[in-house]
Amino acid sequence: MQARDRPSKPLPAELALAFVVNDRLVSPDTYDLPVQTSLEGVGLDRAGFLSLGARNGARVAIGAIGAGLLVDNAFGATGPLADLDLAVARLAVAAEILAIAFYTEAIASKQLSGEELKYLNRALFNEQEHLTAVSQIISGAGGTPATADDFTITFPKGSFASRTSIARLGLALETGFVGAYLGAVDEFTPEDLKTTAARIAASESQHLSVFSDMVYRQAVGVSFPVPTDLETASDFLDGFLS
């Protein structure tokens, strides 16, 4: 991995954490983002990273993977979770499985190219990371998260027949996902799960922006996206999952 546009000054600590996380997440084959390969490159050493985690109250685990890169493992919740917390997490797992199926199909359709295809590849990567995160909430509580094998996924006929049909379905799905994760911020009880949901909502909003631009030539939407509750989000998923 080549570092590009490396900042000459140390980044603010919060931004540095995001880059460190992305350092492991970014696939150079699929997206062309500035990539950092070491903590030093973002102006934060290992001790600083740890203290950042401590300051933020986040449970950050550092493990050696491959060439010693860092792993953000801050998603598993501590302590017992309420039924509603686990229900929201289960719904999120299903939503991510649906999202991954959508992006996989969209990419395989070969209806998109250039920058748009790069966006889709990156979004697929995001969704895979989200799935890992929300699955950890369930496994961390002693449960078994669902896998793609547990569902039959059905998309409307012709969904992947053209660039426009893909963009329209993407717009619908991502609108649903943003609403569901904003709803999850309300519904989760533990603060760390609220934070996780908010971070994923922000990521899904970026995906939404891509499709909004493709469909309406308008990448920026409303100031206050609407959260949806568990029931509404469940109804939305029922349209695709059985």
């Binding site: 509603l84 299903a94 998923l237 029922d238």
Partner: protein, 255 residues
């Protein structure tokens, strides 16, 4: 030349007949007794009408086996009960042979106006569930927990000992709603309305089948189980709405 051709054709036909005989599961010769989950009431006789069947809640059937009831095969609506009996050496190691899904059924009149499972939160709803020990009751409690809806258990007016009791009472309008398997709902098509439950909250429902250790008809019991696991048996199960077991076995290993 012609004689050679006839000979070859005869040989090929004989081989086909032998292969077909080997592929088809041997049918039980003695009349065996099969204890089976109530949800299998319609489909098992279609697979083989010869056995003497006793259909009831799987937990009640397991209790009969513990008490030494004479029977040859046990087919349960979960894997928990046969696995527990296996640990007690009362049955052989069970195999999974089908899956199922839960649905909510409401009377055709649907006076309570139930459209989704979330409507069960309305006060005054009369809800039917299985007892906690029968598989349908256990799965119902799991799906309600998965949906964060355990509070609706306060609307339960009766706990039934098997799924068919829930179904018939809802069909008769004795309750506003009840949880049953999708395969049961299919058997009374037109008599109840079926409300699907969210896929993301469904518990894995797997049916287990096994030979009862005390059987005097072991070979016939195994032959029956192999009929259930055979292509023909599985086709009957699919037609009745049961799902396939991923990576499931096609013949009974026994033991």
């Amino acid at each position: 030349m012609t004689r050679l051709k006839i000979g070859l054709v005869t040989l090929v036909l004989s081989l086909i007949a032998v292969a077909a005989a080997l592929a088809a599961p041997a049918r039980p010769t003695a009349q065996i007794k099969v204890l089976a989950a109530a949800s299998l009431t319609n489909v098992f006789p279609k697979i083989d009408q010869a056995p003497s069947y006793s259909f009831a809640g799987s937990d009640a059937l397991a209790a009969q086996i513990r008490l030494g009831a004479p029977a040859d095969v046990f087919a349960s609506a979960n894997m928990t009960l046969p696995t527990s009996l296996y640990a007690q050496k009362l049955v052989e190691k069970p195999v999974a042979f089908a899956t199922n899904k839960l649905v909510l059924v409401v009377p055709n009149s649907n006076r309570a106006g139930i459209k989704t499972v979330f409507d069960l939160r309305k006060p005054g709803i009369k809800l039917l569930v299985g007892t906690a020990t029968v598989p349908i009751g256990s799965y119902t409690r799991t799906i309600l927990k998965n949906l964060a809806l355990t509070s609706v258990l306060s609307n339960v007016v009766s706990q039934e000992t098997d799924v068919r009791s829930i179904l018939s009472k809802v069909a008769l309008g004795e309750a506003d709603a009840g949880f049953v398997y999708i395969t049961d709902a299919k058997t009374v098509s037109g008599q109840v309305k079926v409300i699907p439950l969210p896929a993301w909250a469904q518990p894995p429902v797997r049916y287990g089948i096994t030979v009862i250790t005390s059987t005097k008809n072991h070979a016939d019991a195994v032959a029956f189980i192999n009929e259930v696991l055979s292509k023909k048996g599985q086709a009957q199960l699919r037609a009745a709405g049961f799902g396939a077991v991923k990576g499931g076995v096609t013949s009974y290993p026994g033991g």
